[in-house]
Symmetry: C2
């Protein structure tokens, strides 16, 4: 099954737009709990509340090969019906990008990956040529310095929007999505209008401060779906004690419900 369908089915089945970012930080985790066990507990506590999981590879690579083994183990514990997005933000010249696509899609088996567009089409093509995988191009990122380059205007059009326009051109397999930070709601609204049917991956809610009802309203498509709203720290570290999994479930449930209130209000 392709990523788009798997995503749609998970959104419908669990009635949720919530994606949990599996970004383990040992210093934030309960003492004595390893990364694989921590993730497994989070997944078991939340897998009926999410439409996707999104491990960011940096958190695993920082722990060396042991971290990558924990990632492999984590991936084995995610139920088959939940799509997993490898947040790797890779970008390299064609023959090298092909290797990154192999690493993320063939070797690790992610359903989708994030890709940095700075190197242009031939750095993206090796990813999108896997028609059943999702490819989320960084468009407008959630960090404060996003403005340094992404806001530069070319003939009145900011760079991040030019990335979105290219994404529309390049989307011959229908598997491209965009990353748009929840911390920039106006930009999110603009991108959703420009790309009415593209899946949007929206980080920046929770610790980063994006406002959830606004983000949900601007991020969803006409059907009330196609937005993947990611929260990491505010779920994973809702409690730093032995009840971390229960606390994560409660946090996830509250986030899902807030999003769904906005979705049904819009439908009403």
């Amino acid at each position: 099954m392709g990523f788009r369908r798997k995503l749609r089915e998970a959104i419908d089945r669990n009635d949720t737009l919530l994606c949990i970012g599996l970004d383990p930080e040992p210093l934030q985790m309960p003492p004595g709990v390893g990364i694989a066990d921590f993730n497994r507990a989070i997944v078991e506590a939340t897998s009926d509340l999410v439409c996707a999981y999104k491990p960011n590879l940096a958190f695993y690579e920082a722990e060396g090969i042991g971290g990558l083994r924990a990632l492999e183990e984590t991936l084995r514990h995610i139920p088959a019906g939940i799509p997993v997005i490898g947040d790797a933000k890779r970008g390299d010249i064609g023959n090298t990008a092909k290797k990154y696509a192999q690493a993320l899609f063939d070797s690790m088996g992610f359903d989708a990956a994030t890709v940095n567009p700075y190197l242009g089409y031939d750095s993206v093509e090796p990813f999108i040529s896997y028609p059943k995988k999702g490819v989320f191009l960084l468009c407008r990122t959630s960090n404060p310095s996003a403005k340094d380059f992404q806001d530069l205007q070319y003939d009145g059009v900011p760079l991040y929007e030019l990335v979105a326009r290219k994404a529309l051109d390049w989307n011959v397999h229908g598997n491209i999505g965009l990353v748009v930070g929840a911390t920039y709601p106006q930009e999110l609204e603009r991108i959703r209008r420009l790309c009415p049917t593209m899946p949007l991956l929206i980080p920046g809610v929770g610790s980063q401060g994006g406002d959830l009802p606004t983000v949900t309203r601007f991020g969803i498509d006409e059907s009330g779906g196609n937005a993947i709203i990611n929260v990491s720290r505010a779920v994973l570290y809702a409690s730093k004690g032995p009840d971390f999994a229960t606390a994560a479930r409660a946090a996830a449930e509250a986030l899902r419900d807030t999003m769904n209130a906005t979705r049904s209000h819009r439908e009403a």
Copy 2:
């Protein structure tokens, strides 16, 4: 010892600007030779001819955890006096970029790394805050699609040049360098003029077709150094038979000599 000094000493000691890209492609390697053994033979045959080695992480990640183990083993076999650049092209929001910097500098022990600037200052800062490590920002990449975004003009200045100008602003620790593809000699000349003392990492010679004398002339600084000219495939796969290491040495020697002919001609 910091990266800049280690690089300068390696350039002087080996009288070379050649960097070999350790990008193992199993299908190109002699049958039955594993990645770690292949790299070890290449390093033993060439370490007196290079100023740096540059493994691109994609080639290791594509082979799974076994590939990363081969990378670790490779790093142990590189002589201590030769700087090693982790070509990872990472780029993420601040707290995540910090994890990537840990992975590349603390866990893997690279002397320098390549970083993608699309996310702006706070994605670069965690790398440059390691003052003894080198940080090469992608400026003008060597691939044909580099033009898609990097050539966009902002008040008459292309994006890649704005990246170079930001690099000058951000260079408070003196450890920033730039990646400029050998396939774009005019852009290389322009960047060298703008950044007269910054180390330039120049891929794209050899299989990608950059002209070596031109690239050397435009890439070096006033002293004839500070340019790291990378060749991967044309050295690694000079022969695909059992004599691959000898053939790699011969190819590396020829490349070094061509660069040095341009350097001495300039000095004369």
